[in-house]
């Protein structure tokens, strides 16, 4: 029993990290129909700058804040320089964002060095709680809490505020929103920045979670996020949470019981979804 609870907590924590990455992807796709292959690059930049400032100042909160700021700024630059010149041309978008991903990844090696770096969680989040026989690792619970918090706050913004209303309307029909006198480009930019910030947050949280960071991590981890976006349905925010948890749990249990198949199980999940529901579990039409 304690094993199953342990694996579940594990899976939920991984799921939340993937969700933070996938949520940005899915919103950006839903609103601008841009599939951002550079998302993994924002993820590692968040991880490296966050870890760097965490180790410099010794404060994890500062690390997280720096990571998010890096994500927001990089998101701004990416949207302006990389995405804006090629709006509306899908093939160019896909090609160019992949190229930018590479540049981001190599720049990490220039700035922070090409070697792997070890990361340790802050003292307050080290160790674990003991509930009966069940060991609950603090940091994993922390990730789950942060992920849920982000989900609740963003859902609130999306569903209850005027900005959220505009974003949701933009996902449905952006020409109409624009013709109603709303600066949709500004909304695009904001959503892109928020999505990048979430990716960077995911990066720093994942860096501490896995205990080691390296430049190729971004592309590897963003593949999971792509799988989640496909399973959850492109453009669906709650779909990406559901699919991320599904993928996280599948990965955690498979990694324990059949380690060789832990990546394959996600591909299998995605294939099944694609055959029976190509628009994704929560996607429309």
């Amino acid at each position: 029993m304690d094993l199953i609870i342990g694996l579940t907590v594990n899976g939920l924590a991984t799921g939340m990290l993937i969700f933070l990455l996938a949520a940005g992807l899915t919103l950006i796709f839903g609103l601008m129909s841009v599939l951002n292959f550079a998302h993994g690059g924002l993820f590692i930049w968040g991880a490296y700058t966050g870890v760097w400032s965490f180790q410099m100042t010794g404060s994890f909160i500062v690390g997280i804040i720096i990571a998010i700021i890096t994500g927001l700024l990089l998101g701004l630059v990416t949207e302006r320089l990389i995405i804006r010149p090629v709006y509306g041309n899908h093939i160019q978008q896909i090609l160019i964002t992949l190229g930018f991903m590479l540049v981001l990844q190599e720049f990490i090696k220039v700035v922070f060095g090409p070697d792997q770096k070890a990361v340790f969680p802050p003292e307050i989040l080290q160790g674990s709680f003991l509930v009966g026989d069940i060991v609950l690792i603090k940091y994993r619970l922390f990730i789950i809490a942060v992920g849920l918090l982000i989900f609740i706050v963003s859902s609130f913004i999306l569903k209850r505020t005027r900005v959220g209303l505009i974003v949701r309307a933009g996902v449905m029909n952006k020409e109409m929103v624009q013709s109603l006198g709303i600066n949709i480009k500004l909304v695009f930019m904001l959503v892109f920045m928020v999505g990048s910030g979430m990716a960077a947050l995911s990066g720093i949280l994942h860096a501490v979670y896995s205990g080691v960071i390296y430049a190729e991590m971004g592309l590897e981890f963003s593949i999971l996020a792509f799988i989640v976006v496909v399973i959850g349905g492109m453009g669906s925010f709650s779909g990406s949470l559901f699919a991320a948890i599904l993928v996280g749990l599948a990965q955690a249990f498979m990694a324990y019981y059949v380690p060789a198949l832990s990546l394959a199980v996600n591909m299998l999940l995605m294939t099944v979804v694609l055959i029976f529901r190509p628009q994704g579990l929560f996607g429309k039409g």
């Binding site: 796709f29 599939l35 292959f37 990389i82 010149p85 090629v86 899908h90 093939i91 160019q92 896909i94 090609l95 160019i96 992949l98 190229g99 930018f100 590479l102 540049v103 990844q105 190599e106 720049f107 090696k109 220039v110 592309l219 590897e220 593949i223 792509f226 799988i227 976006v229 496909v230 492109m234 060789a260 990546l263 394959a264 591909m267 995605m270 294939t271 694609l274 055959i275 190509p278």
Partner: protein, 332 residues
Amino acid sequence: MNIRNVEKSTWIFIIIGLLLFIVPFIITGRSMQFIIIQIFIFAIFAMSYDILLGFTGIISFGHVMFFGIGAYSTAIVMDRMDATVLSFFVAILVAVVIASIVSFIVGALTLRLKSHFYAMLTLALAGLFLVAAEKWRSLTGGNDGFTFRLPEILRDSHHLYVLCLVSLVLLFFGLRRFTKSPFGRVLMAIRENEARTESLGYKVLHYKVIASVAAGVVASIAGVLYALSLRFVNTGVFATDLTIDVLLMTIIGGVGTLVGPILGAGLVELAHHWLSGLSDVHWIFERWIILYGTVYILVVIFFPLGIIGTLQSKFMNRSIKGLRNSRKTVGK
């Protein structure tokens, strides 16, 4: 076939192809010959990518999986069987069969989806192949890879050169014929306007699947030659970097031209060689991918047609206009 009907450009390509056969007598340095062989191999790989990206308008980020399938099937077959020419042919056969089955399954499953999905899925699938090659150690030797012996005749660098050049020339003319056939025209129609092609009554999915199978098979042949030229194989043949390289070659050279990817392969391979040589001068050259990525981004934004494509649209304006006029008369 009447010899007068052969296009002028065909003669030019034949002459260039024949001239290339003399090159190994002029350039006798082994390392330079090796680089030229690599250029031929990557030219084949890039041409196969051009069938997808340039002619059908499909973006695959996992094209390297077919290359890897080719390389691994050669290495495994040559390792398990005797090092004879016969087992070399068996290796090619195995590579082609596996590549066509895999590309058929992948294509049939995912090509009905939008371009985004296909790009993502192929990226993920190639990742799966990479992990499989790392984990299935009894077959692949894991990350370290393994060496294998070649039949006597293929050990000579000159013979290998001729083999690669002949494959390149044959595949080039084969693919050129393929793209100029009615079938190839339909592929281009899909690239230009998928919905309209569908409404004209073509089964777009069938055409796309066949194109992806053709591209997969040609890529696997490039993989076979790659393994032969190194006499060694490791998980590097499934690395995403190779897909990026081949993307760069196709885009810099010019998508949808077939000659462009060959030129691109030459440029990229030579640049790669020189830049990594420069890493003794300054450490920044070790990170040449930054330069690559930047060039690539600039090309995508400013020269989406690539070198050959830009030249063609500049100097062959007349032929394009002529095409438009003929279309108009048909319309009347």
